[in-house]
Symmetry: C2
Subunit: 508 residues, 2 copies
């Protein structure tokens, strides 16, 4: 088929014909045609594209077809979309016409030098399957803005002065109620301390130099002064490198605990002073900590006067059975419970919380400083309103359904296209682990990168001191694999990402 784009093109001052031809449906053809027009320079950087409905009418296609094609090209970096200013050709795209790599033969030049993948200047991969980020396109803008406004207008004046480092009382009360109800956390508002995320919590607990305001001129932060907690710290053999590095920077030695199908083997804990666990959904391998191990680690902490740090990073997102309650509920005086809105709502808010054993509250507040120096007080007030008004529950419920559907689509796609690949850790969370045959993880991650797919192999999560391969005592269930985040893509981009993923998996 061949169709022209005359009316819309005239409206935007571009003389251009689009040819909707070639393999695939109309959406694929339109995407290809637009991409070609940008690559060749016929659509110059900054040019505004016609609204969906105009182009759809001109081409005789459905409006959604145009919307999908635009979205795909935005994801690829060829176009940019901005509310209020429509969709435009990305500025900075290297095209013959933009003169960055001037050429007398635009078409050939483009074909030779511009890759199918996103242009180098544009951030973000074509298919984002990285773990750790929720669907940014699903942020509940209107409900959040309403909460923010309501909270701002109702706040007492002192809320706009220097903040209490514990956090706003409204938020600590709202979290106390919510965490008890949704996660089985046993909290009181005066044991809750607000922070700007999990990393901030770790810093407050372990950093030797007082990271906040020294609490008096007589007690300046001294290099070498002790943190609230001390190492050595037991950690799961697989976890976020960011956390390990942060702890290393604070001078805390970490000792890896082996993992098996029941989670971290906490019976290997010995002289550690604390242990950091992801009991609801081991990160990244995906299983919950077995109930016997939950009890055992509490027993260990009591016997050793040690502390368990509970990283409840995605506890709200459980799909196939009843939620695993917080470990903290077993002994609030032995567990530091840490959570944030980074997965449930957005990492853009920089809001997290700790529920602390009573004896830790004073030291943590002293480490934080005399005044709130980090977390936005106004966002704290908004979150309190968002929780107490029921919007947080509604949003979590909606996202749980969305992520569950995506999880199901991933499992279905793998069953159809790569039935030899085992997928684990899917009962909860925003990611799954695809187990790979020995020797294939590195090549698969590289192949994915070449195809514009961003994802992580398991290797990057492995503690450098963790045993690899077979363990003398028991099977080590984790070895090679891909950590596939299914939350990050916008809804319309997920299908293409799955398709691309299936295309790079090692053959059976």
């Amino acid at each position: 088929m061949t169709e022209s784009w005359v009316n819309s093109a005239q409206r935007i001052g571009v003389d251009l014909h689009l040819e909707l031809s070639g393999p695939g449906g109309r959406r694929a053809a339109l995407t290809r045609a637009l991409r070609g027009a940008v690559r060749s320079g016929r659509l110059a950087p900054g040019t505004r594209l016609p609204p969906y409905r105009s182009l759809a009418a001109d081409l005789g296609v459905a409006r959604n077809t145009v919307a999908d094609a635009y979205a795909e090209l935005v994801a690829e970096g060829w176009l940019t979309a901005r509310q209020g200013s429509g969709t435009r050709v990305a500025v900075g795209v290297v095209t013959p016409r933009s003169g960055r790599r001037g050429s007398a033969e635009p078409q050939r030049h483009a074909a030779a030098h511009v890759p199918e993948e996103a242009p180098a200047h544009v951030r973000g991969p074509r298919h984002d399957l990285r773990q750790g980020t929720p669907d940014a396109s699903a942020f509940p803008r209107a409900a959040w803005a309403a909460s923010y406004r309501r909270a701002l207008l109702a706040a007492p004046s002192e809320a706009f002065g220097p903040g209490d480092p514990a956090g706003r009382p409204e938020l600590r009360e709202a979290l106390t109620e919510y965490l008890a109800r949704a996660r089985g956390v046993r909290a009181e508002p005066d044991r809750v301390v607000i922070c700007s995320g999990f990393g901030h919590a770790l810093r407050l607990l372990f950093t030797r130099n007082t990271p906040g305001t020294p609490d008096s001129p007589d007690r300046p932060g001294r290099p070498g002064a002790g943190g609230v907690l001390r190492g050595p710290l037991g950690v799961e053999a697989y976890g976020l490198g960011f956390h390990r590095h942060l702890l290393a920077a604070a001078g805390v030695r970490t000792v890896p605990l082996p993992l098996d199908e029941d989670g971290a083997r906490v019976e290997t804990l010995g002289r550690e002073r604390a242990v950091l666990l992801t009991p609801a959904h081991q990160f990244p391998t995906g299983g919950p900590l077995h109930p016997e191990r939950r009890a055992a680690v509490i027993d260990w902490a009591r016997a050793r006067e040690a502390v368990v740090l509970e990283d409840d990073y995605d506890g709200e997102f459980r799909y196939d059975r009843r939620p695993v309650g917080a470990l903290q509920g077993l002994d609030p005086e032995r567990v530091v419970y840490i959570g944030s809105v980074s997965k449930s709502l957005s990492p853009a808010l920089r809001l997290g919380w700790m529920v602390l054993p009573r004896r830790c509250v004073g030291p943590v507040l002293a480490a934080k400083g005399e005044r709130e120096a980090w977390a936005s007080v106004l966002d704290q007030l908004a979150l309190a309103d968002f929780i107490t008004g029921g919007s947080y529950d509604r949003h979590v419920r909606r996202m749980r359904q969305r992520y569950r559907r995506r999880r199901d689509r991933l499992v279905t796609a793998l069953a159809a296209h790569a039935p030899h690949i085992r997928v684990t850790g899917i009962a909860a969370g925003l990611h799954a682990v695809l187990r790979l045959p020995p020797g294939t993880e590195g090549p698969t991650v590289s192949a994915a990168a070449r195809h514009g797919i961003a994802l992580d192999g398991l290797a990057g999560f492995r503690h450098p001191d963790a045993a690899t391969g077979r363990d003398a005592e028991r099977d080590v269930t984790v070895d090679e694999g891909l950590v596939v985040g299914y939350a990050a893509p916008a809804e319309h981009a997920y299908g293409a990402a799955l398709e691309a993923l299936c295309g790079v998996l090692p053959p059976g």
Copy 2:
């Protein structure tokens, strides 16, 4: 005069008569009567007081008289005010009826144990004349909420994903334009880095352990690894102890520069690697850095390949002559310019910025981490809208007028009641310095505290290594004094605070 409070009391279920008698006007009498009712337990904690207009009608006084009395008692901590739930007797007030210190003789007990000052559980002094905080009651709630909503609805989806540690481009562009126009800063958006305030900026520049996300698994933060800048660092002989402690915690040695009437004596700089200055309005003594010294410190930095840190903490608030432009304008490659909204808008937002020499941008971003871990991205978007829409300028203009009036009232009150006290540093900013005779600073600060006035003496700002008293070469113009912040009280509470201040000054 004796009046009863029957109607209102019935409405709130309290059987109570208020006696408006004794010295002073009706406002003082009503304040005294209400305070007495709370102290004696006749008004129980949590009791809701009648609306202004009802009580005013019942007592036959002006509505403002009631409003002022309530406000005074809120400031003292006896009452709490919350939009939507009215004014109530503070919960936690120790009264006979609350049973905390049970007594058979309420009246005598209250008289014996409850002080005139605010109850111990309540935060905040009766009269807050501390430096460093703007008038929290003047936060532009409606305009800010409008900016927030507008920014939120217009933001691209990626704004709700992981943030760029440089900060939102919208805000960096808005600041570039604003700082050039209002402060003479020579910036480009890609030399602006957003942070959560001045303390965060200092940490990013000097902390040895990488304080943010390590940028790759191969480069974990190491204890002992260098910060972006190094000491020794020249600092003004008077400054915030918080900054000195933070630097000490980062292992940075600070060397005090003497101050005279032209500001910091930068000619004493030698082998320091950097110097931290408050050129527009020396903190806390109050003068601007002399133009010759501005030039001299830039010359020094160029010759030594050193860096000047410019703390422009209140540069917008200048009353009596043209603004002193930023030192940064003299040499953007030798000056790190640091500002925040903490004085201009509110410390509750936790938003600040650095304008960096180009060679520092990469290292500061590496120190900050791979993703924004601190400053709320949504507040960043709101601030960008607030600036570009003109609301920021309007708010600063309004507050400049308000603070200028307060400054004038302070000067007038001192001229009338303590003409022997010299007041300096009043051409700009949110505080003034009252010079005191030798030996009187400590006793005056203590007397102020006894009278419920919170303020600081100069002693707490003096660098421990700074020479005190007379200097061999020149007069040291700073010795003993009070740092009086005139921004913190709400508008209605300022008069009483001034009056109380004048009552505790040493006699002439």
